[in-house]
């Protein structure tokens, strides 16, 4: 006797004959819904080869052609439900927001370059950084087209701020430890590069340390160049603020704590504020050792 679960219902086979069955007939929503929820066991290959025949025998469909068209309708419905569910995950929203910020930054850069070239041609103002400010204070002094440009750029800056605010909110609830330790934006970027909070939580610290440095890592593995010390975590103030000699060490410490923070956030969301102070302490030790080279910190385990 074989018990098989199919997309159109449950079937029991006795000596190749259908003994019992409970099928859903042509109700696309109900069928898709059932696929969302249930956990299915596998069944043997012989039954698998007979799915069309069984569905026709049970009058779920009247022909092979109809079998394919009903199955396709059900699976399109089910696929849509799964996609909606995937996008509703908080880390999926965070990734969207980060991608949005990156897109905007790229646009702002392009537009600013264009604008500054434009102004070089048409006026005496030459410092691109000052341009936007100049526009803000006396927009009428510039040509109307350039004003439009500047307006677009400052609207993009506003939008960027809105996205950053949204990320902060999402990060505070989704990844509180990572937010405290790395900052919301950097934390979000790590989640995005890892492909989600779960993959980040599964990553060893050594990989986290080089997230965003894949080109350098590849060169290292292939050509034996110096291994990269840090990827996007270089943006962290404690790494950037370190003496160049210490950056590798502080990046390693930070990556180790980030790995812990991501795991805490993924598995429990319990908040451990001391993660950040531990990194700060290490930072302090390293900076002091750098200033007093004779008592070199490497002797301290």
């Amino acid at each position: 006797m074989a018990h098989i679960k199919t997309w159109f219902g449950d079937i029991e086979l006795h000596n190749d004959e259908i003994a019992r069955s409970q099928v859903l007939k042509a109700d696309i929503d109900a069928m898709a819904q059932r696929l969302q929820q249930e956990d299915f066991a596998d069944f043997d290959k012989e039954c698998r080869g007979r799915l069309r025949e069984i569905a026709i025998k049970l009058q779920v469909v009247s022909s092979e052609r109809e079998y394919v068209s009903l199955l396709r309708a059900v699976m399109i419905q089910s696929a849509k439900q799964r996609i909606v569910a995937a996008f509703a995950q908080p880390d999926a929203r965070i990734i969207q927001l980060i991608d949005g910020i990156d897109d905007i930054d790229e646009s702002i850069n392009l537009l600013s370059e264009r604008l500054s070239e434009w102004c070089l041609l048409t006026s005496e103002t030459s410092m691109p950084e000052d341009l936007l400010e100049a526009f803000a204070s006396s927009p009428s002094a510039q040509s109307p087209l350039a004003q439009e440009f500047a307006g677009s750029i400052s609207r993009l800056c506003e939008l960027r701020q809105q996205l950053a605010n949204a990320i902060e909110l999402e990060m505070r609830t989704t990844a509180p430890n990572l937010s405290t330790l790395a900052g919301e934006l950097l934390g979000a970027r790590l989640i995005a590069r890892a492909g989600g909070l779960e993959p980040l939580a599964r990553m060893p610290a050594s990989r986290i340390q080089v997230i965003g440095a894949s080109k350098a890592l590849f060169r290292h593995l292939k050509y034996g160049t110096k291994p990269p010390k840090h990827g996007v975590i270089f943006q962290h103030p404690l790494v950037r603020g370190s003496h160049p000699n210490n950056r590798g060490k502080i990046a390693r410490t930070l990556a180790a704590k980030i790995a812990i923070a991501a795991r805490l956030d993924f598995y429990s969301k319990k908040v451990y504020p001391e993660l950040l102070s531990q990194v700060e302490k290490r930072f302090g030790e390293l900076q002091t050792a750098e200033r007093n080279p004779e008592q070199h910190e490497d002797k301290i385990p």
Binding site: D42, R48, L71, I83
Partner: protein, 221 residues
Amino acid sequence: MANCRPQSATPNNMKIRYHKVPGVFLLDKQLATKGEALYGERTFDGYRLWNPRRSKLAALLTKQAQVPLAPEQIVLYLGAASGTTVSHLANIVSLVYAVEFAPRVARDLVRLSERVTNIVPLISDAAHPDYGPVVELVDLLYQDIAQPRQAEIAVKNAELFLKPRGYACIIIKARSIDVTEKPRTVYKREVKKLEELFDIEYVHELEPFYKAHAAVIARLA
């Protein structure tokens, strides 16, 4: 009459020939299948051009490699992405079960399935197949997932869904398995893993269309 010809018509001097795989054509030297345009590819007289730089299957066919494709086949395709290759494959075989787990590209795949009547989209992780109740026995397992554990995933899916003596076409991207090894060393190692379940028929490299990629054509032992 001659100047009312629609833009997409075959230019008079273009030669249309059959490829050795039924359902595949050569317009001069360019690969094509028959159907309406689905992702912005160029069409001529109902033939859709199929770019060997955008599809590894097209690269294989352009190189005249042995690919076990036939009109009546049912195919399980792992790693469909937005469905570029799947859309042409659907012109060649009878039914494609297309598996993809990344929600962003899967959205395009679902849109494609709504337009093409012989594609069934499955939003699932091929490493943990939960499409057991859905997929029937298939004639061909096609895999293009660029994952370190891809051989294992191919074996698992073949055990569940491939007909006895069914075929497999498995794309290996050396870089996603081991960036430090020479591609050929990686291919050999992957082939060894596949031999656990399959008889290996050919290993084709996809140069010059794809660097450090190969396709393994195998048959369930």
